[in-house]
Amino acid sequence: MSPIMPNAEPSFQTDRRQLVACLKLLLPAHCLLSDDEDLRPYECDGLTAYREMPLAVCLPESEAQVVDVLRTCHSLGVPVVARGAGTGLSGGAMPHAQGVVLSLARFNKILRLDRDARLAVVQPGVRNLAVSEAAAPYGLYYAPDPSSQIACTLGGNVAENSGGVHCLKYGLTVHNVLRLRVVSIEGEIFEIGSAAPDAPGYDLLALLIGSEGMLGVVTEVTVKLVPKPELAQVVMASFADVGQAGDAVAAIIAAGIIPAGLEMMDKAATAAVEPYVKAGYDLNAAAILLCEADGTPEEVAEEIARVTTVLREAGASDIRVSQSEAERLRFWAGRKAAFPAVGRITPDYYCMDGTIPRKRLAEMLSAIAAMEKKYGLRCANVFHAGDGNLHPLIMYDAAQPGEWARAEAFGAEILELSVALGGSITGEHGVGIEKINQMCVQYKTPELDAFRGIKAAFDETGLLNPGKAVPSLHRCAEYGRMHVHQGDLKFPELERF
């Protein structure tokens, strides 16, 4: 074996024939894919710009098989990438060229739904929406609702710490998961958390959730179910200026209101979605805000009245309140369908996921407008205004030479500005492979070192999802050499290229 450079990406050399032969001993034929044409559908997740072919895909049906696969990969030194529905948007489930994809798609059973204790025990391949559907007869639901909830799985939600439009009031995945059953890369099973609160010891649940499949493979998730509010109603407000809309968001919070959802779309986004969903959006507005109140009918009436007053005082040019459940869903339809709607007006788009302090919203949007000119690409903005989580959709055409590179640079600049404004490079999509360079911008060496230490505590050999989420110092050094921070170029006297 060649010596490994300190802090370099670990490199792996897998004997494919040996690997497949070993896996064949563990799994029935229908649980193992190894022909190129069968592997092709797994070469990327929802971030299609990055692709890699795995050596094999395992589709285990039991926890024992998961243990076997992990043990074998561990003993052979083969990387493992766990995968749910593959709807992730940061390339977190992109395969490793020398590794195996471990699909949890067949772990799709709801094992237990306890109405009295208000919890569900589910397998990781269960779809997010399926949990709420199963709980609906009891008047309960699972609160985190990423836009992809019809397809994304609980296991993937745990890996990415997914949010959704309701997380301002109801929290992210980390606030709604009670217990995980996990298999380590060595094939050892452990459980963290329980149906009882405040498990003793370190809060490993917090560490595992959002760890992007790098610390263990989840085989069971216990989630909290909450009572479905009796009523939800949404206010839609138009603003002639995005800064004004941003201020309106702050004013709502300052008034002591935590809405169930608080979302914003700019003109480019409403223009893209209106022909698609016909939600009745004000196409003349520079931005529209959607603000949802939920609770008992009395509570909702009180909150809607207060929100309406605040919005009017904040300068909203038009305010509409949903008068029926059908109208409420129509108001939301556009926001929920923003991604596919933008997908109709451009061959490709690149969705970013930065978080900024709410008060910097107008600043960020004008910077994005300037970047549109700089990179010669259009950008539509939809975001979770309540928690400052932006989703700029950069439109490009992959068939045009150079456009993807420009889109990528555009996205990187947005993320780096998010950090400069006091925010984060990812609010809910994860770092994956996509934002790995920007991790070097958000964190300094000591923090990255600590992340690597945590990784090693769980996965000493670094076989779980290598190359994702936490960059090597080597990688940061490479990226840092090119990185210009706030106009400060290191060694400006040196010529480049």
């Binding site: 149906a195 009395e298 978080t355 490079i425 990812t426 770092v431 964190y443």
Partner: protein
């Protein structure tokens, strides 16, 4: 050790202890016992080492009411933080106990939440970011001041409840929430089994219940939210309205209520639907059935809690007893191994609060 009032001084003190420990043989290493207001000396395992007083490193660093966060230094008294929040109609929603002197650092390190945890969540649910000084004297920044941040592992939340064994929480950013517009306290006469059943029934309905407390045949319930919602729920639930409910919840939060007087006092965290355990001298029930307090010798309490799918903390007892029994329920071997590796990563020489969480850490 003198009062340390600057970050540099804290870093230097820990760095010096680390350097000294590097030189010293394993069995004569000096440990540091991190201390803020000293309000929770009773809590956890052994109190070992020279006191590292962080109480003077205090003050609110940033407070943005419209961004819903507050950042403060570890020695800042909770009372100071809550007074600042109250001026803007906001609160720490997890209602941590003050025990007179509690500081922000100790509050997060201990991870104890108060009556509102039932509705709002625990301390860890509100931690957005921390500035940590690890066991080598290195300063690390995790998380930040925004609600949503999934870049890197969530170390900030990992530190909640870690009892200072991974580092000094020099600065903490917490999410804050608006105070509810209206609150009302109701009291019901009901036995233990009935209270547990009813609390779970209510929790499955969209009711604005923000706290519950059962003791000696009386169930106290707090409703919080919009005025109209509190009134409607109160009509629906019945019970007797209490004029001075706030004082009652304060007594529960601060554990000055007589239900907490016995020793040794056990704190049992259980699935909320767990039937009455039938322990003699059971004191009280909080959090919709999920938290139960029991004062007594406690033979078999830990096993009973584990059997029910929960765990028991030997909460208030003589230090000798806590060291003998272990304050916290033992960890499964793979989890203990993970704890040891994490401890080693953040505090390689084991100088910070050794034995405070587990004897092995």
């Amino acid at each position: 050790m003198p009062h340390l009032s600057g970050l540099d001084e804290l870093v230097t003190a820990i760095g010096a202890a680390y350097e000294a420990a590097l030189q010293a043989p394993l069995d004569s290493r000096v440990a540091l016992r991190i201390r803020g207001g000293g309000s929770k000396d009773f809590y956890g395992g052994m109190l070992a080492g020279e006191v590292l007083d962080v109480g003077a490193y205090r003050g609110i660093v940033a407070y943005e009411p419209t961004e819903l966060y507050i950042t403060a230094r570890c020695g800042t008294p909770l009372a100071e933080i809550e007074a600042a929040l109250a001026e803007r109609g906001q609160m720490l929603a997890f209602e941590p106990p003050h025990f007179d002197m509690a500081t922000l650092g100790g509050c997060v390190a201990a991870g104890l939440s108060g009556p509102r945890r039932l509705q709002a969540g625990a301390v860890r649910d509100f931690v957005l970011g921390v500035k940590l000084i690890d066991g080598t004297g290195q300063v690390l920044d995790f998380g930040g001041q925004v609600m949503k941040n999934v870049a890197g592992y969530d170390v900030s939340r990992l530190l909640a409840g870690s009892l200072g064994t991974l580092g000094v929480l020099a600065e903490v950013t917490l999410k804050v929430l608006p105070k509810p517009v209206a609150e009302r306290t109701l009291v019901f006469a009901i036995d233990e089994a009935g209270a547990i059943a009813r609390l779970n029934q209510w929790a499955g309905q969209p009711l604005p219940i923000s706290a519950s407390f059962w003791h000696e045949g009386k169930l106290w319930l707090r409703l919080s939210g919009a005025r109209a919602a509190v009134a409607a729920a109160s009509d629906k639930l019945g019970g007797t309205a209490v004029a001075d409910g706030e004082r009652h919840w304060l007594a529960v939060r601060e554990q000055t209520h007589q239900a907490f007087a016995g020793t040794p006092l056990w704190r049992l965290a259980l699935p909320s639907t767990t039937p009455a355990l039938g322990l003699d001298g059971l004191c009280s029930i909080e959090w919709g059935g999920a938290l139960r307090w029991y004062a007594g010798e406690g033979d078999g309490v830990r096993e009973l809690a584990a059997k029910a799918g929960g765990h028991a903390v030997l909460y208030r007892a003589a230090e000798s007893l806590r060291c003998l029994e272990g304050a916290f329920a033992p960890l499964a071997p793979p989890l203990l191994a993970l704890h040891r590796r994490l401890k080693k990563r953040f505090d390689p020489l084991g100088i910070l609060n050794p034995g405070r969480l587990y004897a092995e850490l």
